[in-house]
């Protein structure tokens, strides 16, 4: 197990470097001259040249790229063009929001998806199975941003149960922190719960057909023990994969949710930076979100090894 973890970590570092190179190349991949775009197309050549030197674009690409990757891997993404602070500081202020949102959405997805997936598999072919599979398909077909608006209308505007917008750090007031997260996390997590429910059902159905489940029932174990201890553990592997992928979707979806609920997160920061052409902030934000996604997938791979000790790193 330790050897597996170490080798998996050794793959993680080059993956992070390749992502850093790709994100670092962003400015050079853009059609046109970024300096000209920033100062305005009709500006005099002198002003454009000055901006180019200011951005360091007069230096050779390999030199700039090497510097960016080296700094990025140490958490230094340069200065924002507009915010008057370093990108690292900007991200640090907003990271908690995005991570809390993604984690809570994931929790909603798992807490709703896994149990209804199990129920559907046990009641295969019955009305409840049809109900679960159909509603799961419905949830994953509805855009999260539309669910969010409907939830706001229902639970904030009409009933007044939850706040419409904003974010409160957990250290400030844990209850308010939860209250502010319920609607955003639910709007993101419902779609994911549909996907997880479908995966859980399929995975459970495959496991429930195995001989050892028959043996477990034959020796008189109760349904709960058979399902949770014997079947679910083996059905977990595809579900864990789905949770890993789902976390990426949550990080991406956070951009929309943060905008709707006016939450000061990394996603909204990237979106604002895209609109303002604040390239260092876009680069830093995308790199941090992607690095988080890669790290979560690393954890997911380790969870595989826990769920199925037969898995070894080849």
């Amino acid at each position: 197990m330790t050897r597996y973890v170490v080798r998996r970590l050794l793959v993680f570092v080059p993956a992070l470097m390749v992502v850093a190179i790709f994100v670092g190349l962003m400015i050079d991949l853009m059609p046109g001259d970024p300096a000209m775009l920033l100062v305005g197309i009709e500006s005099p050549g002198e002003a454009i040249n000055k901006k180019r030197i200011e951005l360091g674009l007069d230096r050779p690409i390999h030199e700039r790229l090497a510097e960016w990757v080296f700094n990025a891997l140490q958490g230094d993404f340069g200065e924002s063009y507009f915010l008057n602070q370093t990108v690292t500081e900007t991200i640090a202020e907003r990271y908690e929001v995005t991570i809390s949102l993604a984690v809570f959405a994931l929790v909603v997805g798992i807490v709703v998806g896994v149990p209804i997936g199990i129920i559907a598999s046990v009641k295969q072919g019955q009305f409840i199975d049809w109900l679960v599979t159909t509603s799961a398909l419905l949830w994953l077909s509805i855009p999260g941003f539309w669910i969010a608006l409907n939830l706001i209308f229902l639970f904030s505007v009409s009933l007044g149960w939850f706040p419409m917008a904003g974010f409160v750090p957990i250290t400030e007031n844990p209850l308010n922190f939860l209250k502010h997260l319920v609607l955003p996390a639910t709007s993101m997590g419902l779609g994911l719960s549909g996907i997880i429910a479908r995966f859980t059902r399929t995975s459970m159905l495959e496991v429930l057909r195995q001989d050892y489940i028959c043996t477990a029932r034959a020796k008189g174990l109760c349904q709960r023990v058979v399902l949770l201890r014997h079947a679910l553990r083996n059905a977990l592997i595809p579900i864990i994969t789905m949770v890993g992928i789902g976390f990426g979707d949550m990080l991406g979806g956070a951009v929309l949710t943060e905008l709707i609920f006016s939450m000061p997160g990394v996603g909204r920061m990237v979106l604002d930076a895209v609109k303002r052409r604040d390239y260092p902030v876009v680069q830093g934000g995308v790199f941090v979100v992607t690095a988080t996604y890669l790290a979560v997938n690393l954890v997911v791979d380790m969870l595989y090894a826990w769920a199925d000790p037969r898995i070894h790193y080849e």
């Binding site: 994100v23 077909s141 855009p143 941003f145 608006l149 990080l251 979806g253 929309l256 990237v270 996604y293």
Partner: protein
Amino acid sequence: MNKKRNMNGLEALADKESDQDSTSLTLNRRRWRNPWLDAFYNFRRNFSGIIGVTILVVMTVLHVGAPLFTPMDPAEMNSGEILQPPSVEHPFGTDHFGRDLFSRVLYGGRISLLVATVVTLVTTVTGVVLGALSGYYPKLDTLIMRVMDLVMAFPVMILAILSVAILGPQFFNVIMALIIPVTPRTARVVRGSILSLKEQDFVTAAQSIGVGDLRIIVRHLLPNVLPPLLVRQTYVFGISILIEGGLNFLGIGVQPEIATLGSVVSEGRRFLRDMPWFSFYPGMAIALLVLGINLLGDGLRDVLDPRMKV
């Protein structure tokens, strides 16, 4: 006749011999049925598939034939009819510029359908080419899959936003922003199928009689890849509509003057308290389109690839 013209010598010989063979083969031939025809007959009995097709056909007819269903111009402003509730004249009401929301939703759906169709068709081609090369040639596999892994390291929405940031918010760029994250996922499906198929006896048989690689891939492998690919691409259609809707909702999709479902939902957000129907209808249109295609995908999966049944 055409079929024989496309065959090489040994294949034609085998075919000729089989033509001359005895009764048992004739019986076999009688029993042989076109699997696609079988799938079509089975699909007709598939409840969710039929519901999906119905939703999709109705929505497509409404969006594509928008001028037939609404005489209003989606961009025409009317200062005398600002923020009107639904009525006979304006079934979905009007927006803050007095534009008819029904026609904005109908015309907006055209963009979603167009983007999703182009993305689905292009990623089918790019996914098949990359997946087939990767699955069939082990030397290319490492290179292609490492590049695909890099693209898949980014969350889909983040990569789409990054692509728009690099390319600029325009109609064509939105399509590109979707093709980039979707292609590797389709390529993996094709690669996976090719990897398992190429070990089968019929491929070895074709190789042993000297059939070229291109012919093996196109004539023998790709027809077998088609069922999972078809199912996969129906989901790509749905995902494209959702992401395109998201990008337009964020205001970084197609040009703001063009009505899209995502942008109309976004405009309605400001009036959520007093006019909840403003963003309700365009969101409903997105949900129905995606639900229709997902139901169709599920139906196709049940009849074409029952092993994948959820």
